[in-house]
């Protein structure tokens, strides 16, 4: 087990990705996810790059998995809202263990009405598609939830979504 007393949430996430051989990190940039993105770029173990749109990142990670390389898509809440069609017709229909990590905006201090509204669509969409999802709120649970979610996704060949709560990350507030 990782010693969470000296670890950051993003350090734990990167450790767990490595432990599970998740080497490909594709993303559409997000401020809260920046330390994960920067950490993945800084570590030669990972192949990390930005896609122009979240759907595209889903396609890249799905293709890589079918060819033997594990990956994850990082995005924020509004980006997730662009995905239902490709989740349904590619990841769910083909039984691809697509891993997603979403930094949650729209709650606990949101200042943008659009973000607050689109946030409400995320869990209902995941539930409607039967996609396993967990919301991480605590540092001491981060390792366990990320690790077990990845293992279950791969073991059951099903997509999964990890939602990073502002309780964990601090979120984004109006400065």
């Amino acid at each position: 087990m990782v010693d969470t007393t000296t670890k950051t949430w993003h350090g734990i996430v990167l450790d767990v990705l490595k432990r599970n051989e998740v080497r490909l990190v594709t993303y559409v940039p997000d401020n809260v996810l920046r330390p994960v993105i920067d950490g993945a770029h800084a570590d030669p173990y990972f192949t990390a790059f930005a896609a122009a749109r979240e759907e595209e990142a889903v396609g890249i990670v799905s293709g890589a998995w079918m060819a033997g390389m594990r990956g994850i898509v990082l995005m924020q809440t509004s980006g997730f809202a662009t995905l239902p069609n490709v989740l349904a017709s590619l990841a769910c229909a083909c039984q691809i263990p697509l891993l997603m990590m979403v930094s949650e905006r729209g709650t606990l201090g949101e200042f943008n009405l659009g973000q607050a509204l689109v946030c409400r669509t995320m869990r209902p969409v995941l539930d409607a598609l039967g996609v396993e999802h967990h919301t991480i709120t605590r540092l001491d649970e981060t390792d366990f939830i990320v690790d077990r979610t990845i293992r279950q996704a791969i073991g059951t060949q099903a997509p999964a979504c990890l939602i990073l709560s502002p309780l964990l990350t601090g979120g984004k507030v109006l400065s």
């Binding site: 490909l24 192949t47 790059f49 930005a50 896609a51 122009a52 749109r53 759907e55 595209e56 990142a57 889903v58 396609g59 890249i60 990670v61 799905s62 293709g63 890589a64 998995w65 079918m66 060819a67 033997g68 390389m69 990956g71 069609n85 490709v86 349904a88 017709s89 590619l90 229909a93 083909c94 039984q95 691809i96």
Partner: protein
């Protein structure tokens, strides 16, 4: 250039492509692109992935395969309407510059499977090869006829990419339909990629 290119036939060109292949991966985009790939391969080729949904993702899926298996050449077969839906992916391909990726665009200027409605690009006279070059895929070319299409495929098989080959095609529908079994296609493709046993 666009105006001097012959209008060809997708099934004919797909057969010409498949005839040249050994262990290369091919991702067939939604609709007629993958239907004709299925028909051209007699449904037998394990290295083909047939995309039954996720319109616009043939190139991103092929890019993922190319990154995972840099020693294997990967082709994406995509329609013009599908590519328009995900044009940003051309910049991602240019940025990653995978040597083993070739994109083939079938351009009939229409959404053939939904009744032949013109794409906005057809109405505007948009040049897809110019878009690809502008996105940073320098090795992008129109195939002016069947012989040049074959020559461009040979070039992409022999040399470093990324490549984009565009072909003007007619409005013919696909000759057959791919079976609607996404899990079967995914499983067979993984066998073809050597990731799963037979």
């Amino acid at each position: 250039m666009l105006r001097n290119t012959k209008v060809m036939n997708r099934f004919d060109l797909t057969q010409r492509l498949v005839a040249k292949l050994k262990d290369e991966a091919v991702v067939g985009g939604i609709g007629f692109s993958n239907f004709d790939l299925w028909a051209s391969s007699g449904g037998q080729r394990l290295e083909n992935f047939y995309m039954l949904g996720s319109m616009g993702l043939a190139v991103p899926i092929a890019l993922g395969v190319a990154i995972a298996q840099p020693q294997r050449k990967v082709f994406a077969l995509e329609g013009d309407g599908s590519l328009l839906m995900q044009l940003g992916c051309l910049t991602t391909v240019a940025a990653q510059a995978p040597k083993n990726l070739a994109i083939i665009v079938w351009d009939n200027g229409m959404y053939a499977i939904t009744g032949g409605q013109a794409t906005p690009a057809a109405q505007a006279g948009t040049d897809i090869v110019a878009i690809a070059r502008g996105a940073g895929i320098a090795q992008s070319a129109w195939a002016s006829d069947e012989a040049e299409f074959e020559a461009l495929v040979d070039q992409s098989l022999a040399g470093d990419g990324p490549w984009l080959i565009a072909a003007r095609i007619d409005s013919e529908r696909a000759v057959k339909q791919t079976p609607r079994d996404p899990v079967l296609h995914r499983q067979r493709f993984m066998q073809g990629m050597g990731v799963r046993g037979a």
